[in-house]
């Protein structure tokens, strides 16, 4: 399934049409977030074009997860704007209403570092929960779509298994299928392979790469530089709650402009 082929409501005509066709799927301006008195995001600006992949890299505690969580509305930013898919721009100062937050959440789907599958539901139930219960789509139709997605990631036989019966790599693939089944415009990945045993990482990264080739728009937090280089259209280096620099993978990884980026890359490449 590619983002183009699920039957979505046709884009509205006129002005909205041209906005929906605009290259930028995600536009973030001046996003700020504090926990108590600690400023975690200073002022984040991001633009992700339709069908492209943005990789976020940066040291631990720099705010990468927080950026994703704000994009999905799991954390409420306290300043700035987020605009997904040219729908209403969300302003965070003052805080947006519940309904607006729900719209924001509807546009994107997240894949978690620790999968966060629902342990009391089978693989298939995990996947159809959102589309059937929340989006109120037809169960039979959703199930057929879910089975096709599971087939694609090689988990057809596991459809009636519970998450505890799966390996980490299989769970994460279910996590990805669960996100896809929501038919989001934007996929968010938070270190999707960092909880996996090394030999299971490959399957998951390969799947994400396939999704990128199919034209899904994604923001991926990752420590896998090689993967980021291959899959990302753009890499942004986050440190101390700001985007220190961003650019095409080959530029940023090979010739970082900022000293901080250089040091970070050096530490990743030569950990000891």
């Amino acid at each position: 399934m590619s983002p183009a082929d699920p039957p979505r409501p046709p884009a509205p005509q006129g002005v909205a049409q041209s906005r929906a066709d605009a290259p930028a799927l995600l536009t973030v301006r001046g996003l700020q977030k504090s926990f108590g008195t600690t400023r975690v995001l200073e002022s984040i600006d991001l633009t992700v074009n339709r069908g492209t992949v943005l990789a976020l890299i940066g040291p631990s505690g720099s705010g990468k997860t927080t950026i994703l969580r704000c994009l999905n509305g799991l954390d409420l930013a306290d300043g700035g704007t987020i605009d997904v898919a040219g729908y209403a721009t969300l302003t965070f100062d003052p805080a947006p209403g519940k309904k607006q937050l729900t719209t924001l959440r509807d546009r994107s789907a997240m894949v978690f570092q620790h999968y966060n599958l629902f342990p009391h539901k089978t693989v298939l139930e995990n996947v159809i929960e959102g589309p059937v219960i929340v989006q109120k789509r037809n169960r039979a139709e959703v199930t057929a779509e879910a089975l096709a997605l599971l087939d694609r990631v090689g988990l057809t036989e596991k459809k009636d298994s519970y998450p505890f019966e799966l390996s980490g790599g299989q769970q994460q693939r279910v996590g990805i299928v669960r996100a896809l089944a929501l038919r989001p415009q934007l996929l968010l990945f938070d270190e999707p392979t960092s909880a996996l045993d090394p030999e299971l990482v490959g399957d998951v990264l390969r799947l994400i790469k396939e999704l990128a080739t199919e034209g899904w728009t994604m923001v991926i937090v990752t420590h896998e530089l090689e993967f980021a280089r291959e899959v990302a259209s753009e890499i942004a280096f986050v440190d101390g709650g700001t985007i220190v620099e961003h650019g095409a993978p080959k530029d940023l990884l090979r010739n970082p402009r900022e000293e901080r980026t250089r040091q970070f890359l050096h530490r990743l490449l030569f950990p000891f």
Partner: protein, 222 residues
């Protein structure tokens, strides 16, 4: 045991079991059911971000847990009528026990809800669920599994606590025993017999707990 004691034992078994079936068990079951609903409401109130709502629940739980059950029973039985609220024995007993169970089970349920990892809330929000739907479809089913053992304890305690209802003249197992004992003067025999019946009820409950745990365990690694 001589022959006449044995006969007394056998002839008392009927009334005692009947007392359990018509008194102890329905009293415990209905109080537990009402108490659980109350407990769920209190647990959710305790978890509310609204300070005053959580404080109401906190005070309630503290009062229930900080005062003797017998005193609570007497307040309902003899206190309420003095305020002009006159209830029958049974409803009064059920109210008193429900209030009590509600307070204890609330803390159990709250702890069980808090034991569900935060990631479950986030995944549910991510797929678009509201807070209440997340609770009912994702959090509570998982909390249920965790709370079966402690809630079973609460229930088993309740079954035994209903013997206090004999003090406010509700006909149940222990009140039967008291009457038979007073009449026959065979205190040791009859009270031990009553204890035996309580024990059998609790054994059955423990077995039921085992089954329930097994059923809820189907999605957990063993």
């Amino acid at each position: 045991m001589n022959e006449s004691s044995w006969e007394l034992f056998v002839s008392s078994l009927g009334p005692l079991v009947l007392g359990a079936i018509t008194g102890t068990i329905p009293l415990a079951l209905s109080s537990f059911a009402i108490g659980l609903v109350l407990a769920l409401a209190l647990a959710l109130m305790r978890l509310s971000r609204q300070r005053w709502i959580s404080n109401i629940a906190r005070v309630y739980i503290s009062l229930v847990r900080g005062t003797p059950l017998l005193v609570q029973l007497y307040v309902i039985f003899y206190g309420l009528p003095s305020l002009g609220i006159v209830l029958d024995y049974w409803p009064s007993a059920i109210i008193a026990f429900s209030i009590n169970v509600g307070g204890y089970a609330a803390e159990v349920i709250r702890a069980a809800i808090l034991s569900v990892p935060k990631g479950q809330w986030e995944a549910a929000y991510m797929v678009g669920m509201s807070r209440s739907r997340t609770l009912s479809r994702i959090i509570l089913p998982q909390a249920a599994r965790v709370s079966v053992p402690p809630l079973s304890n609460t229930f088993i305690s309740l079954v035994k606590d209903t013997s206090l209802a004999s003090l406010v003249l509700v006909t149940e197992l222990f009140r039967e025993a008291e009457q038979i004992a007073a009449f026959s003067q065979e205190f040791m025999l009859i009270y031990l017999e009553a204890a035996l019946v309580y024990w059998v009820i609790c054994l059955v409950l423990s077995t039921g707990q085992g089954f329930l745990e097994k059923r809820l365990d189907r999605y957990v690694a063993r």
